[in-house]
C-alpha cells in the first residue's frame, strides 16, 4: 500500500464513518431509551432517501434543502409509530417487540416497492460533478457535505441530550424509566420523542446519502446491518460509542477493502463484531449494568 492509497482509504473511511455514525446514533438512541431493537431503522433511511429523491425530482429542490422537510416529517412519523404501534406493546415480551419491528421492516420495504417500484433511482444535481482534490486524495463534494451535516447533527443531538431538560429527561428514561416516572417525566411522551429523533436521524442520513448513492426499496438493509455492528461495538444505547464506532467501522471497511479485498470488507466488520462480543460484550463505551 502506498501513501496515495493510504490517504484515500483514510479519507473514504472517515467520510463514510460519519454517515454510519449518524445512522447508528439514531438506532442506539431507540435501543437505549426504549430497549427495543428497531429492525425497521434502515427502512426509515430508505424512505428518507425516497423523500429527498421525489422532492428533488418533482420540485427541483436542492437535496440538502430537503432536510428541512425530511427531518420534521420523519420525526412526526416516528412519533406516530411510537404512539400507535410501539407504546401499546411496551410491556410485552421482547419477542413480540422484535416481531413488531421486523414486521414494520417488511411492511415498509414492500410498501416502498408497491409505491415506487423495484427500480433503482438516483439524482443528478449541481453538486454531483464537483469533486474535491487534496494532494492525491479525491472525494466528491457530496461526500464531504454529507459528512459535515452528519457531524453537525450528531453534535447538536449530543448538546441537546447533555444540556436541555428534555435531553436530560431522555437520558433519565434510558437509565431508569421507573425513576423517571417518579420525578414527573411523562415517560411515554419521552419515548415518542426519542423514537421520533431516532427516526429523523435515519431519514436525515438517507437524505444526505441520496446525492451519493442510489435508492431502491431494499437499500435500507445495506446500511442498517453496518449500523447494528456499530451499535454493538460502541455499547448498546451508548451515544458516544455509536459515534466513535461509526468511524471505526468506516475505517475498518475502507482499509479492509484495500488490504484484503472489497469482497471481504464485511468480513473485517463482522470479525470486529464477533471479537467485541467475545472480549468486551458491553462494547467499547458500555458500562456494566446491574
Amino acid at each position: 500500500m502506498n501513501w496515495e492509497i493510504f490517504f484515500q482509504a483514510l479519507t473514504s473511511g472517515i467520510l463514510t464513518g460519519g454517515l454510519f455514525a449518524l445512522v447508528a446514533v439514531g438506532l442506539t438512541m431507540i435501543l437505549g431509551v426504549l430497549k427495543i431493537i428497531n429492525f425497521a431503522h434502515g427502512e426509515f433511511l430508505m424512505l428518507g432517501m425516497y423523500m429527498t429523491y421525489w422532492l428533488c425530482t418533482l420540485f427541483n429542490m436542492d437535496p440538502y434543502l430537503t432536510l428541512i422537510i425530511t427531518i420534521p416529517a420523519f420525526f412526526f412519523f416516528g412519533v406516530i409509530i411510537q404512539r400507535w404501534l410501539i407504546n401499546p406493546i411496551l410491556d410485552a415480551p421482547m419477542e413480540i417487540q422484535i416481531l413488531l419491528t421486523l414486521g414494520l421492516f417488511i411492511f415498509l420495504a414492500n410498501l416502498a416497492q408497491l409505491l415506487f417500484g423495484p427500480h433503482v433511482r438516483s439524482i443528478e444535481t449541481a453538486y454531483t460533478f464537483k469533486i474535491l482534490t487534496i494532494g492525491s486524495v479525491n472525494f466528491a463534494s457530496t461526500r464531504l457535505i454529507m459528512f459535515i451535516f452528519a457531524i453537525i447533527f450528531t453534535t447538536a443531538l449530543y448538546i441537546f441530550l447533555k444540556k436541555t431538560d428534555l435531553g436530560k429527561a431522555i437520558r433519565a428514561c434510558s437509565e431508569e424509566s421507573y425513576g423517571a416516572m417518579l420525578v414527573g417525566i411523562n415517560v411515554k411522551r419521552v419515548y415518542m420523542i426519542a423514537f421520533g429523533i431516532g427516526t429523523a436521524c435515519a431519514a436525515a442520513a438517507g437524505s444526505l446519502a441520496m446525492p451519493i448513492y442510489y435508492v431502491n426499496p431494499h437499500i435500507g438493509a445495506t446500511f442498517v446491518m453496518t449500523a447494528f455492528v456499530v451499535v454493538v461495538l460502541g455499547g448498546m444505547g451508548n451515544f458516544m460509542g455509536a459515534l466513535v464506532g461509526g468511524f471505526i467501522i468506516g475505517l475498518a471497511e475502507s482499509f479492509g477493502a484495500v488490504i484484503l479485498s472489497a469482497s471481504l470488507k464485511q468480513l473485517v466488520t463482522f470479525t470486529i463484531f464477533v471479537l467485541i462480543l467475545l472480549l468486551r460484550p458491553t462494547g467499547l463505551f458500555g458500562t456494566k449494568r446491574s
Binding site: 431508569e176 421507573y178 423517571a180 415517560v187
Partner: protein, 234 residues
C-alpha cells in the same frame, strides 16, 4: 390531604390490595407497618398512579386522581422516594437533582430549592459533578431524598428510606425526615424499622395480607399488643 376509598389493586394476577380505605391529614407523619409482601409498596405505587386500580378511588387535596397518569400526580406534589432509590446512575448528582424539578411548578423555583437541598445535604453540593452511580449508599439515599424534595412535595411518600444504611446514618435520616415534616410537608413512611418510624409518626396503619387491620395514632399502634408481637419484635 390524601384519602383512598375501597382501593383494590392487582399486581399481575395477584389481588394485592383489598378494599383499602384510609386518610392522612395535612402536616402529619403517617407510618405504614406490615410484613414483607403485605402490599406496602403496592400501596405507594398505587398512590403514585403507577399501578392501575381495579376499583376504588384516591383523592389528593380534594382532587380525584384515580385516573391521572404518574407525571400529573407529581405535578400536584404527590412525590415518591422509591425503595432502591431509582437514581439515574450515569447522570451527575446535579442532573439528578435538576430532573427532580422537571415539572413546571417545581422548575420555576428550581434554583431556590436546589440551594435548600444543598444546605440540608452539604455532601451533595460537594459531589454535584460526580456521577450518581459512584456515590456511597448513604449519599445515594440523600440524593434520592433530595431529588424528591426538588419536586416540591406536598406529600412525600418514602419507601424504606433506611434500608441498607449504617445505624448512624439511619438516625440522621430520621432526623432529616422530621425536619422536612416541620417545614410543612406531609409524610407517608413505609419502614421495616417500624419502631423508629412509629416513634416519629403522628398516625399509622397496619397492612396484613393486603388489608388494613389496625389504624390510629402512631403511639397507639406502637403500643398495640398485636403490632408489638408481629412487627416490633417485642
Amino acid at each position: 390531604m390524601i384519602s383512598s376509598k375501597e382501593l383494590n389493586v392487582y399486581y399481575r394476577q395477584v389481588h394485592v390490595l383489598k378494599d383499602i380505605s384510609f386518610e392522612i391529614q395535612k402536616g402529619e407523619i403517617c407510618s405504614v407497618v406490615g410484613a414483607n409482601g403485605a402490599g406496602k409498596s403496592t400501596l405507594i405505587n398505587s398512590l403514585s398512579r403507577i399501578l392501575p386500580l381495579k376499583s376504588g378511588s384516591i383523592s389528593f387535596n380534594g382532587e380525584d386522581i384515580s385516573q391521572y397518569p404518574p407525571h400529573r400526580v407529581v405535578e400536584l406534589g404527590l412525590i415518591q422516594v422509591p425503595e432502591g432509590r431509582k437514581l439515574f446512575p450515569s447522570l451527575t448528582v446535579l442532573e439528578n437533582l435538576e430532573l427532580g424539578a422537571y415539572q413546571r411548578r417545581a422548575k420555576e423555583k428550581r434554583e431556590d430549592t436546589l440551594r435548600e437541598v444543598f444546605s440540608l445535604f452539604p455532601i451533595l453540593d460537594k459531589r454535584r459533578a460526580q456521577l450518581a452511580g459512584t456515590l456511597s449508599g448513604g449519599e445515594q439515599q440523600m440524593l434520592a431524598l433530595g431529588r424528591g424534595l426538588m419536586s416540591l412535595p406536598r406529600l412525600l411518600m418514602m419507601d424504606e428510606p433506611s434500608l441498607g444504611l449504617a445505624p448512624l446514618i439511619v438516625k440522621q435520616m430520621f432526623n432529616t425526615i422530621k425536619q422536612i415534616n416541620v417545614s410543612g410537608v406531609t409524610i407517608l413512611l413505609v419502614e421495616q424499622n417500624a419502631r423508629k418510624a412509629l416513634a416519629i409518626s403522628d398516625s399509622g396503619f397496619v397492612i396484613e395480607n393486603g388489608k388494613i387491620t389496625i389504624s390510629g395514632k402512631g403511639s397507639e399502634i406502637a403500643e398495640n399488643e398485636h403490632t408489638r408481637k408481629a412487627f416490633l419484635g417485642l
